[in-house]
Amino acid sequence: MSGQHCEPSGRSTTDTRGLDRFALVGNPNSGKSTLFNSLSGLRAKTGNYPGVTVAKYEGRARLADDFVVLEDLPGTYSLDAISPDEHVVVDVLEANGEISATPDGVIVVVDATTLRRSLTLLAQVLQRGLPTCVALTFTDDLQRRGGRIDIHALTNALGVSVVAVTPGDRGQVTNLKQTLARWRDWPAPVIAPPTDAAETAAWASSVLAAANYVEPDSDARTSRIDAVLLHPVWGTAVFFAVMFAFFQTIFVVAAPIQGWIEGIFAWLGEAAAQLISIDWLASFVGEALIGGVGGVLVFLPQIALLFILIALLEGSGYLARAAFLMDRVMAKAGLEGRAFVALLSSVACAIPGIMATRSLPSARDRLATMMAAPLVTCSARLPVYILLIGLLVGPDERYGPVNLRGLILFAMYVIGAVAAMSAAAVASKISRAGGRLLPFYMEIPPYQVPRARSVVAAVWSAVGAFVKKVSSIILTTTIILWLLLNFPQHTDAEMQAHGVDTSSEVAVSSYALDNSFAASIGKAVEPVFEPLGFDWRINIGLVSSLAAREVFVATLGQVAAAENPEEPALALSQMKVLDGPNEGEPLFSPATIAALLMFFAFALQCMSTVGVLRRETGSWRWPAIAFGYMFALAWVAAFIANRVVGAFG
């Protein structure tokens, strides 16, 4: 075997073949995931379980001699499965379907403060007959609240090893690791606990009595805090304050960091352009590669920050309270309170919002929320809205006492929110028609100080996952678009023959764009977008916005041969319709602008979002459906806007 300081030979960090496997089973809020983190270091997500939208968390723990694999199964109250998450737990324990083998051992994580309830689940696990041990958590809380347990007596009464684990107690963790190493010698109950509900309850009572279990009093600290935070008036006020702060933090803290990242990559791109002598290569490296990587990294501050905040909310226990306060509102959209945080996060960016849906226990709710999240007005739409609204109305126009530009922008946010809730409602109705309805229940845990390790683990996993799986999609999209927008290349001679002033960079880039592959696509899809009032030049912008919405602004600037592509308003307002019945009129008429606003409000243009949907749902099916339905929605809304505003204007 390995010596004290060598790694077991030949094992990469992802190689899990041949290692002993343990599954962690337990109630939600039982401290299971905290235990998983402390045993396996930084949390790793390794995709989804086959065929379902349930995340799979697997990690490796270092025991004395070797590594073992830990699988953190979804939290469940019972093995009588009524949801995909719970079916996964049963499937893993029984090696059903596509799961090839049962785990070598099962660690049932039991919260000492809710021991009676947890014994039902333990009984069900013991009936499966796998080697089982119990990790008893929150023993410190139990004692603090006046409860008692005799662990040795509990071990005798249950017939399995019971190990106490408290976060931060290294000795106990070592103890547990030693227990795991000896899994082949684990005691098992001579007779499995009863299956009948009444008999199981009786069995549990007997075991608790034998273990001299004293139930803890209610947590005084939690009761005091909840008297304020769950007060109908004060609680709601605090809630809105917290949500506002949540929101503001994203913009205030993340935005500048994003600005720096964008700046650094812009500088890098320019440096590449200067250092590389071959023009097209310089452009490729600068815009496609560096720009693409920059496009990935620019999301990191937002994702990291949002996940830190969500982890703090969840770890402290406040998330459950927030969800409790918002549940009635969310229920109207067929969702539940916990979906609120996911949708709120989407106001910054749908990517962390979609990833935040993991906190929802119902797979159906997760999917509905993921399908709805991209409709929420995200920060990438903002530059587009600002540009378009600026073209539509002047800076000082008012509607009554209110600035008209601000009013329209606010309206766009409201449209986004309403659209998201409606989409979620429809998605819920559709999936409800198919399957059983999961009853709503949400445990309200006592307040705790969030464990730093868990917060770090949550952020690390989110950021890592994003970088590993989604970055390739963003990079690919950026490169493809670069190709479409920059090819075919044109020689100076050719351009001069078409009357282009080759000394003017602006004229050159405008010509190149007008004759690029992207332009061919733009012309090809004209029939689709013509009823909305878009012409092929706007279509080029739409094509480019598939990489990221805000790219629309810069691309359109190039199309309009604007002196400064970042501020194209003047050039755009001067663009004229080239042919057809409205020839000569401004291209950006109120009707067209309104249509564009509606299109951007609803269309799923962001390939990064598509990538995250792919990752979180485990297949291309759902992102494809999302893309499709949102495109249809966008088209119809833009059409209506075009006709309605056209009738007035």
Binding site: V190, I191, A192, W203
Partner: protein, 177 residues
């Protein structure tokens, strides 16, 4: 599903006896039966004895010991025994028990000494053995580190005495040889 649910299920659970794999000690709420040697059982349990599934039984204050026939194993017949025992306990009048304090005390003392108490003493370098049981008095011999250990009185009184008394309140005392 058990049919006899007019009475709520008896709270009980089985525990292993260290000295003998064929017996299970079924922990039950105190006060249902008087401790002693049972001579007659209610029907469901009587059946199992008649079929030679169960061979012997003693009744403690809070537990009932059941010996299984050596050819059988608990995992196989356990559920049936549990159901029968539960039904039998809801008919306490169907039992007939002969008082036999010393016999019960013998089993309890042996179990305690071989079990957790013995382990603790062993971890201190000593050993404890059961010598005899008579008239509710338990005679033990403490050897090894224990024979010269100043904590002997404490060990006897607190640990062994307490543990045995918890299960058999009629214990008089524990004496060391």
């Amino acid at each position: 599903m058990s049919a006899s649910q007019t009475v709520s299920a008896i709270a009980m659970h089985p525990e292993q006896v260290l000295t003998d794999p064929h017996v299970l000690r079924w922990v039950v709420p105190p006060g249902i039966l008087e401790p002693g040697l049972p001579t007659r059982f209610p029907a469901p349990l009587a059946e199992l004895f008649a079929e030679q599934v169960l061979r012997a039984s003693i009744v403690e204050e809070s537990a009932i010991w059941l010996w299984l026939s050596p050819e059988l194993s608990w995992p196989v017949v356990g559920a049936r025994v549990r159901t029968a025992l539960s039904a039998a306990l809801s008919q306490p009048e169907g039992w007939q028990i002969e008082r036999a304090d010393d016999a019960i005390l013998q089993q309890v003392a042996l179990e305690v000494i071989c079990g957790p108490v013995g382990e603790v003493i062993g971890s201190h370098g000593g050993a404890v053995e059961l010598v005899s049981v008579k008239d509710n008095t338990v005679l033990v011999s403490l050897t090894g580190a224990c024979s010269s250990c100043p904590a002997i009185e404490f060990t006897l009184r607190n640990r062994i005495d307490q543990e045995i008394r918890r299960r058999h309140s009629r214990l008089d005392r524990v004496v060391a040889v």
